[in-house]
Symmetry: C2
Subunit: 506 residues, 2 copies
C-alpha cells in the first residue's frame, strides 16, 4: 500500500490548516499492520513531527484512508496510549502527550535517561590527560589500608573460599553484619544484626528502599539539591518528587510539612551530614523536627549517611536513626566506599523491623545476595580494628586540604559567586551569580584543564542550576592550587563576559 | 475524642444491616487527624474488617460523626485512593479495592511479598539436619576449580588491588567483558565487548532488563512455568504477566501470538535451554518462530540461558541471540554461578545496541557497578582456559547421576504421576495427579527427611500447582537413592490417601 496522508489538528482547533499524517503500510506480512501504524506514529512523535497536544485523526478516518479495518487502527492507538505516548479515546479524540517516562522498549532509548551516563562522563573526565578533575567525592586509599585489606582477602581465600562459593540468603553474611553493628554503635545507633541488610554500596541501599517503599506515583520529599543517585533511583521508580529547599541548617521545615500535609509524601529522603552535594549538616533540632513530622504524617525516612566520620570541625551530630524510637520508620543507609574502600561496592541498610521483609525481598529480586568473599574480607578487615586510626589520619590530611582550598577558592571567586564551608566531607558547593550558565562554564573549564560536577544533576526538577560541586578526594596535593587557579580564572572570565553582555544590552 | 461508630455498606446494597466503622481519634496533636483516619481505615482493611467492594461512609457523614472538618476526611480518603486501597469519589462513593500491590510503606509489609523469602526458606531447608534437600539447581564446585580461582584472586590481589579500589563506569571491567565475549563465541554468539554489561549474577541481568524495558503495567509474555526470580522481578516492576504454556518443544506459539497480538506484550521472557524449572529445551524451529513473532509485533526478547553447557544428550541448540539479526531486540542474560562458581554473584547481559544506554543507566541506578576485584579475578580465571575441561568432567558426573535418578524416580512414582527427562541441567520436573496437594506433600516430605521445591513458586498466576522441582546439584552421590526412596514413598502415600478419600466420597 502506498503512503496516504491523512490529517492531524491541534487540541483546540485554531483555524490552522490540517497537517498530513504520513503513514506507509507494507503488506509483506512480516510485521503486523497495527505494529506498523504504532511504530510510524511513534517515529513521528520521536522526530517531533507530532508534538504534544496535537490531535490524531479519528480511528475511522485513518482506517478509511489506509483502507484497513478500524479495529487495527484502534489497536495501534490503544498500544500508543499504553506506551504513554498519546491520551484520549474518551470520545474526544486522541492527543499526543507531553514527553513522559512511561515508554516502551527500544523506541524511547534515545530519550532516556535524562542524565545520560553521568558516571561514565565523570569517569572519562577524571582520566582525561592534563585535566585536574575536582569530581571525586571519595578519598585516596592509604597504602596501609590496601595492605590490611589484602591480608584480609588472603585470610578469607585461605580459610573460607569453599564456604563462600554457595548461594545464600539475601541479608548477607553474619560476620559482616556483626561488624556493621559495631560501626553503628560508634555512631550512637544500637542495631540488631537481623535488621541489617548488606547491599552493593549505598546506591543499592537507596535503590532497594525506593523499590520497597515507592510504588509508581508515590509522592516523595527530597532535598533540593540532592544526590543524583537518589534522584535517578526515584525517577526510575516513577516516584513523584517533591523538592524541599535546603537552608543552612537543613531542610526548610515549612516546605517539608507542606510536602507531607498537602503533597501526601510517604517518604522523606535526606542526607543530613555533609550533604552531597551542598555540604550542609542538618542541625540536631531539625533532625528532631524532621522525625516528628514524619511521625505526624505517617511517612518513612531514608537517611543516607555517606561519611559522618570525615568531620573536620565541630562535635558530631547523631544520625536521625539514633534519635528514632522503635515505631519510627527510619531506614539508615550507607556504603563502605566513601570512607573505607572506594569501589568495593559493599554497603548496608538498617531497616526498621516492620520493613525488614520487604527490603530483603527487594534485595533478593535485585541480585539474590552480595558476593560472599568480599563480605567476609570486609568483615575480617573491620575486625582488625585499624580503620579508626586511618580515619584519624584522613581527618588530618583532608581537613588541612579543605581549609587551604576554601581559602584559595574564596579569594579567587569574583563578586556574586559564593562558596560554602562544610564541617566535613570532601566537597564544596559553589553558587554563581544569577545569570551564570554552568554548562557553558563547564566546557570552558575542561578546555582550560579543570573539571567539576555541573550542579544541574543534583536537581530533580530545575532545568538550569547555577551551582557546581568541587570535590577534592582524589587530587594530588600538588595539583590542588593549580586547579583552583584554573577554576577561578574561568569563573572570572565568565563574569567579565557577563558584564560586557550586560553593557551591550543596556 | 471517643470512638464514634458510623456505617459502611456493600457496593450493591442487598439489605444487609450497616456495619459500624470504628474510628477513634486522639487530639494529642502528635499525629495529624487525617493520618489517624487514614491509618485506622488501613488497619480495618488489613485486618479484614473492611473487605473489597464495601462502601465507606460519605465524607460529610464521617466528618459529622467525628465532629471534624470535611476537608480532613476528604484528605484521608484521597490518601487511601493514592495508596491503592480504595476507589471512587466520582460522586458514587468510596469503595474498598481488591487487594493490590500499589500500597504505601510499612502498612503493607505484612502482605507482601507473595513468595515470602523463598530464598531464605530454601536455604534453611537445605541445611536442616537429616533432610536430603533436592533443592539446589547448581553444581558442587570442584576442588581444582576452587584452587584455580584462588590463584586468580591472589594474582589480582598482588598485582591490581590498588587499581581496583576506585569507582568505575557501570559496564564492568574490560578484561572481564573480553573473556565473556570468548565464552559467547563458543555458544555461536558474536558479541562486541561494548554491548556487554557485567551484572551481579543472572538475577540482576533479568532485573535490569525488566527495569529498563517495563514501565508499570507493561504486558509481558512469560513461560508457564517460569523461573521465580524472573516472576518476582516482573511483579516488583508491576508488569502485567501473560503466561504462555510450555509444550514439550517450548512455548505454545498460538498462545504466544495471542499475548502479542491481543495482550500487547512488549517483552517475551524465555529460558529456552533446560528451562528452569521444567527442563524443557525449545526446539530450533520454535526459536526461529519466537524471533519472527517478536519482530512481527515489535516486542523485545529476554533470553535467560543459565547453563547451556550442561548438556548430557543430543546436539547443542543455538541461543535465540545467535539467530537474531542486528535489528532484533534480544537481550541475552546469564550468570557465572550456575556452572562455574556458585555464589560469585557475577553474570552479564548482552544488549542490542539500541537498548545499551538504558541498561547501563539501570545498572548505574541499581548499584553503580560490580566489585572490581571479583571481576578481575573472574577474568583471570576464565583466561586460564581450564573451565572447558571442568565442564567435560561435570557433564560426565552429572549426566550419570541424572540417568540414575531418572530411572529410580520413574520406577518409584505411582500411576498418574509423571517425570520429564531433560537433555541437560540439574533438575527434574514432576507432575502429580490432578487432585494432588503439593503443599501437603511438601510438609510430609520434610518430616520424612526429603525436600524439593514446591512448583507453586514457578507460576505467576496459578494459585495451586501440582508440580515439583527436584534438583540434584549439591547432593552427595551416596544420598541420592535414599532421597528418591523417601520422595517416592511420600508421593505413594499421598496417592493411597487420595484413593481412600475417593472411595469414601463415592
Amino acid at each position: 500500500m502506498a503512503a496516504k496522508p491523512t490529517s492531524i489538528s491541534a487540541r483546540r482547533p485554531r483555524g490552522v490548516a490540517h497537517q498530513p499524517l504520513k503513514i506507509a503500510l507494507s503488506n509483506r506480512g512480516d510485521v503486523a499492520l497495527f505494529v506498523q501504524i504504532r511504530e510510524q506514529i511513534r517515529n513521528l512523535i520521536d522526530r517531533g513531527t507530532l508534538t504534544a497536544g496535537m490531535r490524531l485523526p479519528p480511528v475511522r478516518v485513518l482506517a478509511r484512508q489506509l483502507a484497513i479495518n478500524q479495529i487495527t487502527v484502534a489497536k495501534a492507538y490503544r498500544a500508543l496510549v499504553e506506551a504513554g505516548l498519546i491520551d484520549g479515546r474518551r470520545g474526544g479524540g486522541s492527543f499526543v502527550r507531553e514527553p513522559s517516562r512511561a515508554r516502551s522498549p527500544a523506541q524511547s532509548a534515545g530519550r532516556e535517561p535524562t542524565q545520560p551516563m553521568l558516571a561514565e562522563r565523570l569517569y572519562e573526565l577524571a582520566r582525561a590527560p592534563g585535566v585536574i578533575a575536582f569530581s571525586s567525592n571519595y578519598p585516596q586509599v592509604e597504602a596501609s589500608c590496601v595492605a590490611d585489606f589484602k591480608a584480609s582477602l588472603n585470610a578469607v581465600i585461605d580459610n573460607e573460599l569453599a564456604s563462600c562459593l554457595h548461594y545464600e540468603p539475601p541479608a548477607g553474611r553474619l560476620a559482616l553484619r556483626e561488624q556493621i553493628a559495631v560501626t553503628l554503635d560508634a555512631l550512637g545507633i544500637s542495631a540488631d544484626e537481623n535488621d541489617i541488610v548488606v547491599t552493593s554500596g549505598a546506591q543499592q541501599a537507596i535503590d532497594l528502599s525506593v523499590r520497597a517503599l515507592c510504588p509508581p506515583g508515590t509522592p516523595v520529599a527530597i532535598e533540593q539539591p540532592a544526590y543524583y543517585g537518589a534522584i535517578n533511583s526515584l525517577r526510575s521508580a516513577q516516584a513523584r518528587l517533591l523538592e524541599v529547599p535546603l537552608r543552612d541548617d537543613g531542610m526548610d521545615l515549612d516546605a517539608l510539612e507542606h510536602c507531607l500535609a498537602r503533597g501526601g509524601a510517604r517518604l522523606i529522603c535526606t542526607n543530613p551530614t555533609f550533604q552531597n552535594p551542598s555540604g550542609i549538616t542538618t542541625s540536631i533540632d531539625k533532625r528532631h523536627a524532621i522525625l516528628a513530622l514524619a511521625r505526624r504524617y505517617g511517612a518513612a525516612i531514608l537517611e543516607d549517611d555517606h561519611s559522618p566520620e570525615l568531620r573536620f570541625r565541630g562535635g558530631p551530630v547523631p544520625p536521625i536513626r539514633a534519635l528514632a524510637g522503635p515505631e519510627d520508620q527510619v531506614i539508615y543507609a550507607r556504603g563502605f566506599g566513601k570512607v573505607f574502600l572506594p569501589g568495593i561496592r559493599l554497603g548496608f541498610l538498617l531497616a526498621p523491623p516492620v520493613l525488614r521483609q520487604r527490603l530483603l525481598q527487594a534485595k533478593a529480586n535485585a541480585d539474590l545476595h552480595c558476593n560472599s568473599i568480599m563480605q567476609e574480607a570486609l568483615a575480617h578487615y573491620l575486625a582488625l580494628g585499624r580503620y579508626p586510626a586511618i580515619l584519624d589520619r584522613m581527618r588530618e590530611t583532608y581537613g588541612a586540604r579543605q581549609q587551604m582550598l576554601y581559602a584559595a577558592i574564596s579569594a579567587g571567586l569574583p563578586d556574586g559567586a559564593r562558596i560554602n564551608h562544610p564541617d566535613g566531607g570532601l566537597s564544596f558547593w559553589l553558587t554563581l551569580p544569577e545569570d551564570a550558565d554552568v554548562s557553558e562554564l563547564y566546557f570552558r573549564a575542561v578546555r582550560r584543564g579543570v573539571a567539576f560536577v555541573d550542579g544541574e544533576v543534583f536537581y530533580a526538577s530545575q532545568p538550569k542550576a547555577r551551582s557546581l560541586r568541587v570535590s577534592f578526594g582524589l587530587n594530588k596535593p600538588e595539583e590542588l592550587l593549580e586547579g583552583v587557579e584554573r577554576l577561578c580564572s574561568v569563573v572570572q572570565d565568565l563574569q567579565i563576559r557577563r558584564r560586557a553582555r550586560n553593557l551591550v544590552l543596556i
